[in-house]
Symmetry: C2
Subunit: 135 residues, 2 copies
DNA sequence: CATAATGATACTGTTATGGTATCTTTACGA
DNA sequence: TCGTAAAGATACCATAACAGTATCATTATG
């Protein structure tokens, strides 16, 4: 099981890189060279971050990406949600009416608790906080 | 993402059923009729529980399954592990040396924390405790 | 010894994930 | 003004995990 898939992972690395670079604009070319990610895949990821308002893109020669949101406001939980949808530790198991039983109550509640805990932690962890402690 | 997959889900339901039934021995036939699960799939699940020492099987006519472990000692974490391997919230992302960076430290640690929390809760939740509160 | 049970195992369909390929659009700058 | 270097959009492909099926072998009971 994976909270952080490749999409999200690449997004996080790219965002960290852009923050640290202190440049006006960062191109995919530069990111690929320095972070060693598959170019077409990374492009898809960045395009999505653009659509979602995390990055802002500039087309044309010398184009590239800049942050559209302050790094303190980009939460890991949000990034996961962008690439995988709402964070869940249980998908369908309890929805289908296979389980109108004792079990459902207790187990479902338990997992809900874990899920809430996980979500709340991921939603308070930002790109900025990843970079801060690293120094 | 799913902590509890079908395997595990069926296993939990079947185990609860067996405990509640108070019978000497419970056959797949009975389980399938009462719990409405796909028969061949459930059989695989039960065979695995037998191999792992959770159930004990009896072959031949009037055969079936009985608990081989007390319900207080059958933990949900264990069942998940049987069907999915060790519980993880992060698989490979950090292992591959793509990330010898600042980020790895903080994010990895954070997810480790969530993972440990989840594992510890799942490992203290037993079949018996699922049934208890239901009453 | 027929039959009703489990054991073992190989196969199949679907979906999520990770990734590629290609064509279009845009804007800088010589 | 036009070539070129960037991003946008989209369609496609490969693999693995998950969910489930199908079949045949083995075993114990009545």
């Amino acid at each position: 099981m994976n909270l952080i898939t490749r999409n999200t992972d690449y997004a996080i690395r790219a965002l960290c890189y852009i923050v640290k670079s202190n440049k006006d604009i960062v191109s995919v070319k530069e990111l690929v060279e320095d972070l060693k990610m598959p170019r077409p895949f990374l492009r898809k990821v960045l395009q999505e971050l653009n659509r979602r308002g995390i990055l802002r893109s500039y087309k044309g020669k010398n184009g590239g990406f800049v942050l559209a949101t302050r790094p303190e406001k980009i939460y890991i939980g949000k990034l996961i949600e962008i690439f995988k949808g709402p964070i869940k530790l249980q998908e369908h198991t309890f929805k289908k009416k296979i389980c109108p039983e004792i079990k459902s109550c207790v187990l479902k509640k338990e997992i809900d608790t874990m899920e809430k805990y996980t979500i709340s932690r991921l939603n308070s962890l930002s790109i900025a906080s990843l970079l801060k402690t690293g120094k």
